[in-house]
Homo-oligomer: 250 residues x 2
């Protein structure tokens, strides 16, 4: 039997946000590969090998998936959220590009999932209801100057913004600079949403005006959404409603 | 019994891309409200009223949903894709904001779905694997000059780009201007993906270099993705692979 790689998104955390398409792919797999907490979401069964690896070894993990597929295994690579948004799909293609030529003939499928920014947005209303951008705030793989440039241009374009990986133990200071850049570039008090661990028991949601946002409001499990100049808060408190209207008055 | 409004995303078309969370909400509803082709996806049953309306009446539809909920109905508003991305959620909040004060106390939930850009991206690999933006190309609700400004700034930021509503019968010419702006602003031959009716029997996928993209490649059912300057084509033909690497070399 010929092998293949299927890269799937498990969504933000809740089981009822996993698509039936992804569930079916997992049921057909011989091997599951991924970061420890995502592999822990897969139920063990006869005939299924679980390969859980630590963070920051995305390329090793990707090569392993491609090697197993080339040897005939039905491999599923699990990501959180959507695999194509700051997750495992690009890593697998990087490994494919750098690997042996015959890997390019392998069947490779990507199955979409509910990405964190859309789960976070839905939780508070529709803050991404007009044009928006998604930026990974980690400077592990790109220079800090490029992040700042993109923030300034996104503010000038008046996009709503979704930030992945705003802050981590190894990058405690960058997010303070992000808030400084945004305050200078936006010059208003648009809403900022801090959505931590959306759809899990640890979920915490907070909506604050931009000038009151502080770095400590984000950690590595937090998605940060920043409104456009038109984003409005309709309801505050425990069950906030924030949205960006579809219409822009010239 | 108190009523509520739940705004759900049915994904791009295939039933196995509907989350179990959305399926459960539909099973609990007394009323389904939405655009005709989306309501047509809901199975009729005893106790469920289907309210299908034509396109371009989003605010009427939203008011109807809020009125029914205020009268105690369990209303589900159906969108394609994700309801918060160029779909029904923002329209419901616009109606809420303009409506009677007591509507603001109604329980309103938004349940995320697989939005078209992520389904299209997954179909060809991971073209949105690095920072990106999403722009609605319809100028029904915003001035054309703002669309052009956002395109230029997005190119300067070197975002990958996802375009919703690139072209329709009532707006046949705008997309040609979009391609002109992009060719001038990008000045290279990055890949452009035309993904029509993804996950349905009418699905058509095409990947072309930017200079060879033509307006006729898009219609109202097409999602257009434009790579960043780093986006690469790993495989051409019927099963294309396109991705944007995670890493930016300074």
């Amino acid at each position: 039997m010929s092998g293949h790689v299927t890269i799937v998104g498990l969504g933000p955390g809740a089981d009822d946000l996993v698509t039936p398409q992804v569930t079916a792919a997992i049921e057909q797999a011989t091997d599951i590969i991924g970061y420890i907490p995502y592999v822990a979401r897969i139920a063990p069964r006869e005939g299924l090998t679980l390969h859980a690896t630590d963070n920051r070894v995305e390329l090793d993990r990707s090569r392993h998936a491609l090697e197993l597929a080339a040897a005939g295994h039905r491999v599923v690579v699990v990501s959180s959220g959507d695999p194509g948004v700051f997750a495992m799909a690009a890593a697998v293609f990087e490994a494919l590009e750098a690997g042996p030529e015959h890997w390019r003939e392998l069947p490779i499928d990507v199955l979409p999932g509910i990405t964190a920014m859309l789960a976070a947005a839905a939780r508070v209303g529709a803050p991404l209801g007009h044009d928006f951008c998604a930026i990974n705030l980690s400077d592990n793989l790109k220079p800090w100057a490029l992040i700042e440039k993109r923030l300034r241009l996104a503010a000038e374009a008046d996009f709503a913004m979704a930030f992945y990986n705003p802050r981590s133990k190894s990058r405690p200071d960058g997010f303070a600079r992000v808030l400084d850049v945004l305050n200078a570039a936006c010059g208003d008090d648009r809403p900022v949403i801090f959505a931590r661990a959306v759809s899990t028991p640890e979920e915490e949601i907070r909506v604050v005006p931009l000038t009151q946002a502080t770095p400590e409001m984000a950690d590595m499990r937090t998605m940060v959404l920043v409104g456009s100049s038109l984003t409005r808060v309709l309801r505050e408190g425990d069950d906030p409603l924030v949205y960006t209207p579809r219409s822009v008055v010239p």
